[in-house]
Subunit: 180 residues, 2 copies
């Protein structure tokens, strides 16, 4: 299979914390990278409801950005996750491994994978193994609150996004076009 | 002039802090918004060198994302800024006011405006005035380190991105496709 990656060295980036801007940062990173001809694949773990904004936008990008949304709309209980949620998260992780190993994508975003690991829907050691075995020119971005310490340890870059102020607290709901 | 905005209420968001992910967050936000047909205009204050990644990507977006890069490649001294840097930052602010007032864009990103204000290249009270006078359906995003307290006060959302770990400290330079 042709290896299309063009980064000489792919690193591991983690975006965590309780603030707004983790997933959007990863989207922006893929958007910028597309301008250099780099190809990105975004796997959204635990997405809940389908988010049409980025799916529609990705269609404009000449195949440079692919988004796969996994998970289902229902609330996932950390203490007592449903079997279906575990299965969907594990499917997402298997897809992640396949995409990363393929070498066809320069950047692979595992969106909300930190939460999936924290909720024990997936084994964080499996994630670490996949990261360690990745082709050296594949950049991997891990997002979500509650990043396990092991993810921070293996990362080359860690940004923590802290919520200082949020309009949800003023009673303004999520808006189409901005949050979804 | 036709008002093309489609947000019922535009808010003010600030992304500040010393970590990676502020500008990329704003890019990602515009990218998602484009999927809903919302139009964004990004003005990059103090950009330094021209950044081709996002410029190329924006061309793919059917006119939904416009980026204007202001500033020049040289280092700007906070203590003793050059006259040309002040002029360019003020040109950027005038453009910002025009774009915001036009009502033709749903989202206006003032990228690195926090730094321009902190360096006194522009008057932060001018920025506040422009924000207060904006059409109510225009969302404005302010990015950059050192956001003045006045910007935080007027904002509906503030996210602080903190650098926990960065590969620059390992001697790895900025890379095309990732940082620029």
């Amino acid at each position: 299979m042709q290896n299309r990656s063009r980064l000489t060295k792919g690193l591991i980036q983690v975006y965590t914390g309780n603030g707004k801007g983790k997933t959007t940062s990863a989207l922006g990173l893929c958007f910028r990278a597309a301008g250099h001809g780099l190809r990105s694949f975004i796997i959204q773990f635990m997405k809940g409801q389908i988010v049409y904004g980025e799916l529609n936008s990705a269609k404009l990008m000449n195949g440079l950005i692919t988004i796969e949304q996994m998970g289902r709309p229902d609330f996932v209980s950390k203490q007592n996750p449903e079997r279906i949620d575990i299965e969907m998260a594990q499917d997402a992780l298997r897809l992640a491994e396949k995409i990363i190993k393929s070498g066809e994508y320069d950047i692979v975003v595992l969106d909300e994978v930190n939460v999936a690991a924290d909720f024990n829907l997936i084994d964080k050691n499996e994630v670490i193994r996949i990261l360690k075995e990745r082709p050296e020119n594949v950049e991997v971005i891990l997002t979500g609150r509650y990043a396990p310490q092991e993810f921070l340890d293996i990362a080359d870059l860690v940004s923590e996004v802290r919520e200082i102020k949020h309009y949800y607290s003023k009673g303004i709901d999520a808006r189409d076009g901005i949050e979804r």
